[in-house]
Symmetry: C2
Subunit: 393 residues, 2 copies
Amino acid sequence: MNNFNFYSPTEFVFGKDRENDCGEYVKKYGGTKVLLVYGGGSAVKSGLIGRVEESLKNNGIGFSELGGVQPNPRDTLVYKGIDMCRAEGLDFILAVGGGSPIDTAKAIAIGVPYDGDFWDFYSGQARPEKAVPVATVLTIAAAGSEGSPDSVITKTDGMLKRGCGTDLIRPKFSVLDPALTQTLPAYQTACGATDIMAHVFERYFTNTKEVEITDRLCEAVLMTMIKETPRVIADPDNYDARANIMWAGMVAHNNIVGVGREQDWNSHGIEHELSALYDCAHGAGLAVIMPAWMEFVYKHDVMRFAQAAVRIWGVKMNFADPAVTALEGIHRFRMFLRSIGMPINFEELGAKEEDIPALVEKFGIGDGETGGFVHLKAADIAEIYRIAVRAEL
Amino acid sequence: MNNFNFYSPTEFVFGKDRENDCGEYVKKYGGTKVLLVYGGGSAVKSGLIGRVEESLKNNGIGFSELGGVQPNPRDTLVYKGIDMCRAEGLDFILAVGGGSPIDTAKAIAIGVPYDGDFWDFYSGQARPEKAVPVATVLTIAAAGSEGSPDSVITKTDGMLKRGCGTDLIRPKFSVLDPALTQTLPAYQTACGATDIMAHVFERYFTNTKEVEITDRLCEAVLMTMIKETPRVIADPDNYDARANIMWAGMVAHNNIVGVGREQDWNSHGIEHELSALYDCAHGAGLAVIMPAWMEFVYKHDVMRFAQAAVRIWGVKMNFADPAVTALEGIHRFRMFLRSIGMPINFEELGAKEEDIPALVEKFGIGDGETGGFVHLKAADIAEIYRIAVRAEL
């Protein structure tokens, strides 16, 4: 196991109707004037935004609104939020929604006290040193942004999708009410579940030896997702299944299951180019890319893929030929993704084979290499896209 | 799943030689004059205390020492530490050692700003409202106190062992260096492992339905302990096995595997009377009590015990008679405990059957009931002690 620091200071406020307490928690964490960041109309129509505002008012907290955050959130709204905070002296940012409003809120949080362009943090040209406090009311179990130090933003100029990570933007508190996810359409629910599973797999496939505790914790989250996801697809109102998924989504990405090991993260990078170009859902893109990545890299450590197949998917070990077991695990993953309504190839996603050179170009590694488990070059990434083109069950 | 709050703001500083950074972290969390709390001579002889002091000095931090904390730590040193903090204006408490110095440090932390007797918090007569910040350098993977809000202290007058829990005493940071545990004798290592497993089982056996994610996380920790503990008993210098156990010990007790469910905790209460009366190791007492408790209560939910047997211990499910499976799981637990050198009955622990009435009396529930999974009365507790008297493989 490698040395590490683990720091997850977010207070998680979990359960039915807990969003009605958010004013109290803003107060507890020192907010007096809030920038409320949210997405499309559903949070407004459902009455959620109204209830959050009511809770703020009841606690004497002022607020301004920044609605309209889109999936694959853009830099444009980040600039707008930074301006609002500066102009109005807002001292706390509360995101209501999924990963997009949350990641937007986090970007605003580090942008406000920074003299330069906030994009410097995403292009890697600067490191954040200060942040306005951020908190969340989560409405989609997916991105894990409610408990993570990460934010992903798309720069409109060039459609570049890039991430930034710093403990400064770990939320002060996150309200996780599983009931808020019950109105999500099946497709979005499945996209979220896929994202959660991908967060675990990105950590699971590692070259670090002797990491039994985090292996087992990763497997725990994945087995939970395999059990609970089909239940919510079949019955969207299943509160308990929603609750298990929601807590799994946090655990998957606050890094408690990933500490002390090298992680990979190539599938996320390779997917980001798809959602940036086609504006598809991140989870749907991962459903297409992640098994393709697995097929491309599994020979690097057949026994680790066999372990995943046996422990997570319940495949019987083929002791004569562990590669058969490893491949069966990947096949089960694709079957699972299909069963919950996810695309498994380019055509089903709406992506085009002829765009592969452009996707690889945008990925932007030139002659370099990327990834923690298997180092990939540009040609390898092209091949993974090609595997994803022709993937079938 | 039940509603819950989860808040674990401790920064974990994990890995080889990380104790040399502790001065830096004291500074980061605002300490200027430290009360250093530790146990017997081994931390001094090994040079650990010297290195911690060196790190404090290098960061310009003053300190006073309170050594000599014994296992099953007493109130007497707590009073002494409170007096020292007040007299010398110490503003930070750093525990170096296992659960005993850490729990002592936590008791001092809430005692210092309190006008009354700190024991009020342990007798349940008052709730803490303020605390001096606490941090830890852990040398034994066992109590989980490095990441928990709990402290257990024994009142010398009457040998009453009682606990107190509040987020105020969650450590600001905890240094977890697995190498520091390599010098632990096999018996203490096994006691620690037993304590870790007990922390999970106390959470695992619950009446709360639909808690798949926390079930799986609990099982992950237990399977890790089953794999790694025999390795460190066989080879005390196995750093990686020590590392897996050390992180498992934190995960087992910061409550991430126990949120959203009713928990039991009777085995801990029943054991506390043994270690208070005989001054035996808490883990050894748990090895005797926990399987006895399981035998007494398993009929309350045979399928949950069968699930534990199948998922954790790898027992084959007996579909015709799940109780057979359930009992086989308990048997495997006892075999495991014996294999790592733990006592499994009163005689091996040095406890006496004739003391049972006194133990039950001290437990002090009178005509009341206790426990989250199965409510026990005094007569039930006596029966569990009797099962523990006659336990064999």
